[in-house]
C-alpha cells in the first residue's frame, strides 16, 4: 500500500506530461489534484494503520523490489513508514494537495500546455519528496533527494523565458549540487564505516558505540551529511539559492518552503538521530549554524521590500530554528516546528500569492498598502499566519518555537538561546512590518488593479505599472481589487485553521497537554534520549520571555510601520550603513561571486579551455591525424599499379616466410 503514496503523484506526472497538451486545463488540474488528494487519502489510511500498532513497534515496511545486489551488499527499494515519516507524508500530501488546488486558480492565465507542464512538475516534485521521506535506506532517500533538486530547478525556472528565472533555477540546482556532493561523500563514508546504508542497521550499529569525544569517523560522516542538509534546507553557507527561488510561481514557493525540499535536511537529521547523537561535535556545529542562519536571515528579512523575499528569508530563519533544535538534541521539537511551520508558511506564501494575483504581479511592499478592505479573506488568513509565525500564544508557531527555545536553554546553550530569542523578536517585527505595509495604512498610488489577461508574476514586477487610465479591467471591477477566487480561498482558510490548531498536538505538560507529538515520535529517534525535563518553573519563565519577545516585535513593527512611518525612515537614515549592509544581504552573493564563481570562471577559461583543451587535448587529437596523413603521403607510393610488382612482392613475401620456417 505504501508504494501508492509516491506512485499516485508520479502517475499524475506521467499523465500530464504525456497528454497534458491535448486536454483542457480542467482535466489537467483534476488529474494533478486527484493524484495528490488520492495520495493524501492513502497516507491517512496508512497512518491510521500505523497508529493502530503498539507504540514501540510502530513501523510498516514495504519492499517494492530488490534494487542492487553486489556481493554482500544489497540495497532494496523499500519504503518504510514510521512515526517520523508519517508526519512527513501527511504534511507533504496534505499541504501539497491544498497547494495543488490553489494552483488551479493561480495558474489559470497560463496557456493549456504550460498549465499541464506546471502540474506535471508539481506532481513529480511531490512524488520525489515522498520517496525521500519513505525510503528505508540512504540510496532510496538519495533518489528522492536528487529528484526534488531536479524539480526545484524545473519549477523555479518555470518561466524560463525570463532570464532571472532561469538563472535562479540554475543557481538552486548548482548550489544544491554542492550540498549533494557532501551528502554522497557522507553516505560513502558511512558505508565504509558501517557496511550498510540501511537506516535501521546503521542506527543499531551506531547505538553500540559510545559518543565520540574526538572528531572521528562518525563526526565526519554526520558533518558531510549535514553539508547536504545545508544545501537542501538552505542553511549557511548554502542558503543563497532560496531567496532567488522566488522567481518561480508563488505556489511553487509555498510547496518548496512548506511541504517539500527544504524540510528534507531537517528530516534527514531526524532520521539519523542516533548517528548524530554519537557525534556531539557535529551537533554543536549544527546548532551554531542553525542559530546563526536564523539570526542572519531574520536581519535581512527586516529590510527587504519584495513581499516574497521577506517570506523567503523568514523560511531560512525558521529552518535555522529547526536546525538549532536538532543541534541541541531536541529532535521532537525540531520536527514539531517543521510540522507547524509547514502550515503557516504555506499559508503566508499562498496569501502573498493572492495579493500578487490581485495586484496583477506587483510584489513590491512599498507599492501596496490598505489592502485590508479589498482583500478580507486574504487579510484575515494572512494575519493568522503572521501571528502563528511570530509566536503569539494560542497559534501553532508559539508552541513549537517555545519548545525549541526551552530545550535550547535547558540543554545549557544559553548564548544560542539568546540568539533564538532575538530571532523570535526579529521574526515578529519583520512579519508585522510586512502585514502593516501591505494591508494597512494608505493605499500607494501605483497599487491599481490591472487587466487579468497578463499572467501573474510574468515579467519583472516593474513591467506591470501600466498607466491606470489604460486599465480596462477585464471583469469590470473598476478600482475594486478582487479577493482570492474560491479555489484559492479554500486553501487559505484550511491552512489558517491548521495554523491555529496544529500547535495543540504538541501541547506541553505545563499547559495541560501531554506532549503527544514528541511522545509519538520517540520510536523514530531510537536511543536518542528525549528526557522529560521536569522544570516547569523554568519553562514557565522562559515562555513568558518568548511571549514578551513576540509581542515586543509586533509592537516595534506597529510603532514604526503603522503609527509613525516617518520614524522608520529616520531610523533607516541614522543607521544607513547597517541598512545598506542588510539590503545587500551582507554581500554574501557578491563575496561568493568574487571568491568562488570568478576564480572558477578564470581557471576554466584561461587554464582549462585555452591551455588544457586547446593545447593538450585538441593538440593530441590533431597530432594523431597529422601523423597518419603524413606517413600515408609517403607510403602510398608503394602502390605502383604494376601487376608484376605486386606479384613480385607476393613471391618474395612467400619466400621470406618459407625461409624463416626452414632456417629457424
Amino acid at each position: 500500500m505504501l508504494i501508492l503514496i509516491p506512485l499516485l503523484p508520479f502517475l499524475g506526472f506521467l499523465l500530464n506530461a504525456s497528454f497534458g497538451k491535448r486536454v483542457s486545463k480542467a482535466a489537467a488540474g483534476a488529474v494533478a489534484c486527484g493524484a495528490m488528494v488520492g495520495s493524501f487519502a492513502v497516507s491517512l489510511a496508512a497512518v491510521w494503520q500505523l497508529v493502530g500498532l503498539p507504540h514501540e513497534s510502530r513501523a510498516i515496511a514495504n519492499q517494492v523490489f530488490t534494487w542492487i545486489t553486489s556481493g554482500d551488499f544489497t540495497a532494496a527499494f523499500t519504503l518504510r513508514l514510521d512515526p517520523l515519516s508519517s508526519v512527513m507524508i501527511l504534511v507533504i500530501t496534505g499541504i501539497g494537495s491544498l497547494i495543488h488546488i490553489y494552483s488551479t486558480a493561480y495558474m489559470h492565465e497560463e496557456s493549456d500546455s504550460e498549465y499541464a507542464r506546471y502540474f506535471s512538475y508539481l506532481n513529480l516534485f511531490a512524488a520525489f519528496m515522498l520517496v525521500l521521506v519513505l525510503g528505508s535506506n540512504f540510496l532510496v532517500m538519495f533518489v528522492g533527494w536528487e529528484g526534488v533538486g531536479l524539480c526545484s530547478y524545473l519549477l523555479i525556472g518555470f518561466w524560463y523565458q525570463k532570464k532571472s528565472a532561469s538563472d535562479a533555477g540554475k543557481k538552486a540546482f548548482i548550489v544544491n549540487r554542492i550540498g549533494d556532493f557532501g551528502f554522497v561523500l557522507g553516505v560513502l563514508l558511512l558505508f565504509v564505516r558501517f557496511g550498510s546504508v540501511d537506516f535501521q542497521e546503521v542506527a543499531r550499529a551506531a547505538s553500540t558505540l559510545s559518543p565520540e569525544t574526538a572528531f572521528g569517523t562518525v563526526s565526519w560522516i554526520t558533518l558531510l551529511l549535514f553539508v547536504g542538509a545545508t544545501g537542501k534546507s538552505a542553511q549557511i553557507p548554502l542558503y543563497i539559492w532560496l531567496p532567488d527561488a522566488m522567481e518561480g510561481p508563488t505556489p511553487v514557493s509555498a510547496l518548496i518552503h512548506a511541504a517539500t525540499m527544504v524540510t528534507a535536511g531537517v528530516y534527514m537529521i531526524g532520521r539519523n538521530a542516533v548517528l548524530f547523537g554519537h557525534a556531539p561535535q557535529t551537533l554543536a556545529i549544527v546548532a551554531v549554524i542553525g542559530a546563526a542562519t536564523a539570526l542572519m536571515a531574520g536581519t535581512i528579512g527586516l529590510v527587504q521590500n519584495d513581499i516574497k523575499r521577506v517570506l523567503a528569508y523568514s523560511t531560512v530563519s525558521q529552518l535555522g530554528y529547526m536546525f538549532l533544535a536538532m543541534g541541541v538534541g531536541a529532535y521532537g521539537a525540531g520536527i514539531f516546528h517543521l510540522y507547524t511551520h509547514a502550515f503557516f508558511k504555506a499559508l503566508l506564501f499562498l496569501g502573498s500569492g493572492a495579493v500578487i494575483h490581485a495586484l496583477a504581479g506587483e510584489q513590491d511592499l512599498r507599492k501596496m498598502g490598505g489592502l485590508k478592505k479589498d482583500l478580507p479573506i486574504t487579510y484575515w488568513t494572512f494575519l493568522i499566519g503572521a501571528l502563528a509565525i511570530a509566536g503569539v500564544p494560542g497559534f501553532a508557531g508559539f508552541f513549537s518555537k517555545d519548545e525549541i527555545l526551552f530545550r535550547t536553554y535547558a540543554s545549557g546553550h544559553t548564548i544560542l538561546w539568546v540568539v533564538g530569542l532575538l530571532t523570535s523578536l526579529l521574526t515578529a517585527t519583520y512579519m508585522f512590518r510586512l502585514v502593516f505595509m501591505a494591508f494597512h495604512g494608505p493605499r500607494a498610488e501605483q497599487a491599481r488593479p490591472l487587466p487579468d489577461g497578463v499572467g501573474a508574476d510574468l515579467g519583472p514586477p516593474s513591467g506591470h505599472h501600466a498607466p491606470p487610465a489604460a486599465a480596462g479591467h477585464a471583469h469590470g471591477h473598476g478600482d475594486h481589487l478582487h479577493d482570492a477566487p474560491p479555489a484559492m480561498a479554500f486553501a487559505l482558510v484550511v491552512l489558517a485553521v491548521g495554523s491555529v490548531v496544529t500547535g495543540y498536538a504538541g501541547l506541553t505538560t505545563l499547559l495541560g497537554g501531554r506532549d503527544l507529538f514528541a511522545h509519538y515520535l520517540e520510536p523514530s529517534f531510537g536511543a536518542a534520549p528525549v528526557e522529560e525535563v521536569a522544570q516547569h518553573g523554568l519553562e514557565g519563565t522562559l515562555m513568558l520571555v518568548s511571549i514578551a519577545a513576540a509581542v515586543g516585535g509586533i509592537g516595534i513593527a506597529a510603532y514604526f510601520f503603522l503609527k509613525n512611518r516617518r520614524a522608520a525612515d529616520q531610523m533607516a537614515e541614522r543607521f544607513s550603513g547597517l541598512r545598506t549592509l542588510l539590503v545587500n544581504k551582507y554581500y554574501v552573493d557578491e563575496i561568493y561571486d568574487a571568491t568562488v564563481v570568478q576564480p572558477i570562471r578564470i581557471v576554466s577559461q584561461e587554464g582549462l579551455w585555452k591551455v588544457v583543451d586547446v593545447r593538450l587535448i585538441d593538440a593530441a587529437v590533431n597530432g594523431v591525424g597529422e601523423t597518419i596523413a603524413g606517413s600515408s603521403e609517403r607510403l602510398r607510393h608503394i602502390q605502383t599499379g604494376s601487376v608484376r610488382a605486386y606479384a613480385a612482392s607476393v613471391f618474395f613475401g612467400a619466400v621470406a616466410i618459407l625461409g624463416y620456417y626452414l632456417w629457424q
Binding site: Q639, R644, A648
Partner: protein, 100 residues
C-alpha cells in the same frame, strides 16, 4: 627407381620455370601460360604425395585444381581480349594506371 624426391624436384623446377615466366615475359598470354605451368607443378606434387602415402585425396584435389584452372584460363583470356581491345597492347606494363 623413381622416388618421391624425384617428383618433388621436378615439381620445384616446373614451379620455378613458371614463376620466372611470370616475371620476365612481357606478354599477357605467355604469363597466363606460365601460371598454368605453376599450377601443374603443384598438381604434380599432390599426385606424388597421394601415391607415396597411398591416399586418393591428392588426386581428388588435383581434379578440383584442374577445374579451377580451366575456369581461370577462360576468365583470364576473356580479360586479356578486353584489355587488348582497350589499349591494342599485350604488355602488362601498359596497364599500370591503377596506382596512387
Amino acid at each position: 627407381m623413381v622416388t618421391l624426391n624425384h617428383y618433388l624436384i621436378l615439381s620445384a623446377i616446373l614451379f620455378a620455370i613458371g614463376t620466372a615466366g611470370v616475371f620476365v615475359r612481357r606478354n599477357l598470354i605467355t604469363i597466363l601460360l606460365s601460371i598454368e605451368i605453376m599450377l601443374n607443378a603443384v598438381n604434380l606434387t599432390f599426385v606424388a604425395f597421394g601415391r607415396a602415402l597411398g591416399s586418393a585425396d591428392g588426386q581428388i584435389i588435383v581434379f578440383f585444381v584442374m577445374t579451377v584452372a580451366a575456369a581461370e584460363a577462360a576468365v583470364g583470356l576473356a580479360i586479356v581480349i578486353s584489355l587488348f581491345r582497350h589499349k591494342e597492347s599485350l604488355n602488362p606494363d601498359s596497364f599500370a594506371s591503377l596506382k596512387w
